[in-house]
């Protein structure tokens, strides 16, 4: 394994770790507003890390085709970084306009 391979593996592993956090987060968190935090952030970061890792792996054989493919992967990353916050924002906006009440500490303590 070359150095690039090790770096790529580490990046992909980090991305998968973030993805795992996101998946567990949207299961554990109490309400819809707080579930958006892992869904919006951890998934974006996971995608970023994993895709950068894969782009680095592609640079193993340095030809025009592989560099262009790595650039396309970077294009996806940029696209995700623009659209992911917007999608999160659209979902939370729909929730607020529908009048879903945010979960708070008081609401839980009041229920006890």
């Amino acid at each position: 394994m070359s150095v690039l391979d090790i770096v790529a593996t580490a990046m992909i592993a980090m991305g998968l770790f973030f993805f795992l956090g996101g998946a567990i987060g949207i299961l554990r968190f109490p309400d819809f507003y707080s579930r958006l935090h892992p869904a919006g952030k951890l998934d974006t970061m996971g995608q970023f890390a994993a895709m950068i890792g894969m782009a680095i792996y592609l640079l193993n054989d340095l030809s025009l085709g592989s560099v262009l493919t790595a650039l396309k992967i970077l294009l996806i990353v940029v696209f995700v970084f623009i659209t992911s916050p917007t999608a999160t924002h659209a979902i939370v906006d729909a929730g607020v306009r529908a009048g879903l009440a945010p979960w708070t500490k008081e609401s839980r303590e009041g229920r006890r």
Partner: protein, 276 residues
């Protein structure tokens, strides 16, 4: 009447099941399709059409008839949606909102009031308003051109990468729908009118069938693109390649227009006054 329909369905279904055992097994390597047809496509595809992607060669050249009628089916789906949903009668809304453009004053007109319809100075506002959202609006303005460019890339590179008319048409239609979502339906109409959409959807199918007819006129079979070589000024193999590109463009136009037509009609329940 319903019992009659049920009996008909059951009978046709029974007939189909009766015919089922005569077919070769799914994925059977000894079936005629696997022994004769598939090797021919795989061996001859690239040499015949200069398209490395054999799926494109099969879809757009060897089985061009099927694809033409697929495009026709999509076109007729758009037509059906138009005929079922489109209504030209105005719904009676209790209250309407208009904005006076030179001053920015918003007028609220109760039921029965006189509406400033057809005036240039007044702009109607959705009664179930589309919430204005700066973030979504700006994001869509940033990415819509790139989604369109990507759609055109998918159409143009059907020979080399997975893609072609159907996928590219869906992406281009999605870009226009994204624009309509981010602003509102009337702003989208300013860029792509209903009449233009209808015209484009018909034009797409016409390009496809017209290519076949041109081949026929030039002395070949229907959709045999190698006879386009005289017009395009290239040899037969490249003529097939360019012929595939031409019909991909036709399919892309038809799919794009039908997607947009479905969105226009479904989101406004056929009235085309206010959408999502």
């Amino acid at each position: 009447m319903r019992a009659f329909a049920l009996i008909t369905v059951l009978m046709v279904g029974g007939l189909l099941f009766y015919g089922l055992p005569d077919f070769p097994d799914w994925g059977d390597p000894a079936s005629p399709a696997s022994t004769h047809l598939s090797p021919f496509y795989i061996e001859q595809g690239a040499a015949d059409t200069h398209a490395p992607n054999v799926v494109t060669a099969v879809l757009a050249y060897y089985r061009g008839y099927d694809t033409m009628f697929e495009a026709a089916v999509i076109f007729s789906a758009g037509l059906a949606c138009f005929f079922l949903l489109r209504t030209f009668r105005q719904k009676s809304i209790e209250t309407r909102l208009y904005r006076h453009l030179p001053t920015g004053v918003t007028l609220r007109i109760e039921e029965g009031g006189k509406t400033p319809e057809g005036s240039d100075e007044f702009e109607p506002i959705d009664s179930h308003w589309v919430p204005y959202d700066m973030i979504i609006n700006l994001t869509c303005r940033l990415i819509v051109p790139f989604v369109q460019l990507f759609a055109l890339y998918v159409i143009a590179h059907g020979h080399y990468s997975p893609g072609g008319g159907f996928q590219g048409g869906v992406l281009f239609g999605a870009a226009i729908i994204l624009y309509a979502i981010s602003t509102d339906l009337r702003t989208a109409f300013k860029r792509l009118q209903e009449k233009a959409v209808m015209l484009l959807s018909a034009l797409g199918v016409l390009i496809y069938a017209g290519t076949g007819v041109v081949c026929l006129v030039l002395g070949g079979n229907f959709l045999d693109y190698s006879f386009l070589a005289g017009i395009l000024g290239v040899d037969a193999v490249m003529a097939r390649s360019h012929g595939i590109l031409i019909i991909e463009i036709g399919v892309g136009l038809a799919v794009m227009a039908v997607m947009v037509m479905l969105y226009y009609n479904l989101s406004s329940a056929g009235r085309h006054d206010e959408g999502l």
